[in-house]
Symmetry: C2
Subunit: 334 residues, 2 copies
DNA sequence: CTGAAAGCGCTTACAG
DNA sequence: CTGAAAGCGCTTACAG
């Protein structure tokens, strides 16, 4: 910048102002300065600027796994929103390791990030969140709760959503319904399991303990759970899966065993990923508003950046059932 | 830092040294300083440090789409390598839009990033790469070439790899083999198509123009190409797909039409994604060394950071055929 | 082993 | 409308 200033015989203050299109600088001066900047191949140094202004233009986004299509869809809409306001976003996976998450948060602090969008790792203590807030870094949560942390959170109404899937199966005539996937260590896992149990109870149906195969959260996991499910004595005729990935994996596993998902066993997913509609058979699932979650979370954070007052959030997104070919009436005789 | 210095009656220089474990500082002083830093909740300001040292600890990674499992697998191994040397990595999608890619590169320059790992967007001119190098930013390419750019590149031997798949089908007795997916706008697309054509030629087989359905690169794309393929007159008995995603989508589409992939139509993929082995039927494909690509690219970049001399790369990764259930002999009578 | 001083490249009052 | 000066929080010669 001083090179530009010298070459034109003006002050660096004027250059700084001109490059940011300040009305304080005469039109002609501004033009000359911009021209010189171009000619000299000037590169704006954001570190220096941010050191002075205390705004970095960086927003951190940290989730369990960015390559998981569920988060991928959320991230895309976050990306769209942040791009619009020219924020750079720093992505990271924490793989549900608290240490990785803390390392990332430290990095964010050191870089002077303006805010954080976080889907907290399993076991995240409230203090980790409040410490951030105390350091003046706005934060919004997505997908998962952190008990006792008073920050905006955006997610779907899991208990309600899973009841949609469960009730759909019940209305088709299924009475023995299993639930596969998810973990009680996350609020999402607990909420969905509770929703399933409640829906069964309301319909006067019993739930056998071995009908709950907890754990799987990926396609691979669902695939591997298939044999265990198929081996159940007095096997359930339908399965509520924790998410679409588990459901698709499970259906693949069922097909491998020579049975036909949607005919021999009804299967529901959760999330309505893009993939759900092209699965074979097309997956009956619950739309979970990923796009909406991402959009709202990003907006809420941006609002906080521009106005420390703003502090919304918390309204749950209302899930919707999507009926496709992976569910049907129980086969006669089962 | 000056707060720490004041509270202890030492200079900031000493504090700086102590916090970085310099042997220049007496053990006892070091301890006192670190203790004070902890007590005061000191946060290291990387912007300030980097302004002074001209190293930011940031490495940029830019690909077509980080949520695509192909890149996802590469990114995971890049992540592992960079974590090890405590570099923060800034991820971005360019979605094959040159403008997005340029914006990201600009951001990197402004943040003073130490280097870039890039899978270049379609149409990236050589000048974009050389300009970066001229600005002193080390760069390595992955997956795709940029003609005339003299920088390290890491990728598989695509022409060779696709010939493995093609020859496998030929050896099973197929003579009419289609190729679905990919675009001639990328080196990868051209190489794979060329490899397929060559393999067919060497076996004395002809390739009808309508057997090439260019374009699809995703599951959705493969799924949508199914009807077009199935409608071909004198339909090929086998399909070489551009990648696993297209192959899996295509198989879903074929199933939807009531045919059985692997029996009625043989299908091969490319990349050997984790998903390939749990697809139904399990996908015959070509292992493309994603992990290896990521690992080598990250190492090469780190080497360049630590020693401007280093400048390796260019050896192609040798693909391998993985035979599973999606390929078989052509059905009698076809 | 420790301190005083300069400087990285910006922006922001303040003065004119 | 423009300039001189201070300062953001570090690190690095240099001197002692």
């Amino acid at each position: 910048m001083s090179t530009i200033a010298d070459s034109l015989g003006v002050s660096t203050a004027t250059v700084s102002l001109a490059l940011r299109d300040s009305a304080l600088v005469a039109e002609s001066t501004r033009e000359r300065i911009k021209e010189a900047a171009r000619a000299l191949g000037y590169i704006y140094n954001r570190r220096a600027a941010s050191l002075r202004t205390r705004r970095s233009g960086i927003v951190g986004v940290c989730v369990h796994d960015i390559m998981n299509p569920f988060f991928a869809e959320i991230l895309r809409s976050i990306e769209t929103e942040l791009d619009r306001s020219r924020q750079t976003f720093l992505l990271s996976n924490h793989y549900d390791e608290l240490e990785k998450q803390r390392l990332f948060i430290d990095t964010l602090l050191q870089l002077g990030a303006d805010g954080l969008i976080l889907s907290p790792a399993i076991g995240t203590p409230r203090e980790d969140i409040t410490a951030l807030v105390a350091n003046g870094m706005p934060i919004v949560l997505i997908a998962r709760e952190v008990e006792g942390a008073d920050v905006p959170i955006f997610r779907g109404d899991d208990a309600w959503g899973i009841s949609l899937a469960t009730n759909h199966l019940i209305s088709l005539g299924h009475t023995r319904i299993a639930m596969i996937g998810g973990t009680d260590q996350t609020s999402t896992g607990r909420d969905r399991h509770r929703g399933y149990v409640n829906a069964m109870g309301k319909a006067g149906l019993t739930v056998e303990p071995e009908w709950r195969i907890a754990g799987p959260r990926t396609k691979q996991g669902g695939f591997e759970a298939a044999p265990q499910f198929l081996a159940l004595k007095n096997r359930p005729t339908a399965v509520v899966c924790w998410n679409d990935l588990v459901a698709i994996g499970l259906m693949n596993g069922i097909s491998r065993a020579g049975l036909t998902p949607g005919v021999d066993v009804s299967v529901t997913g959760y999330d309505d990923l893009e993939e759900a509609s092209i699965a074979t058979p097309a997956l009956t699932t619950v739309w979970n508003g990923q796009r909406e979650v991402g959009r709202r979370a990003a907006r809420a954070l941006l609002d906080q950046l521009n106005d420390a007052e703003a502090h919304g959030g918390q309204e749950l997104i209302h899930p919707e059932l999507r009926i496709r070919q992976s569910t049907g009436k129980p086969k006669a005789g089962l």
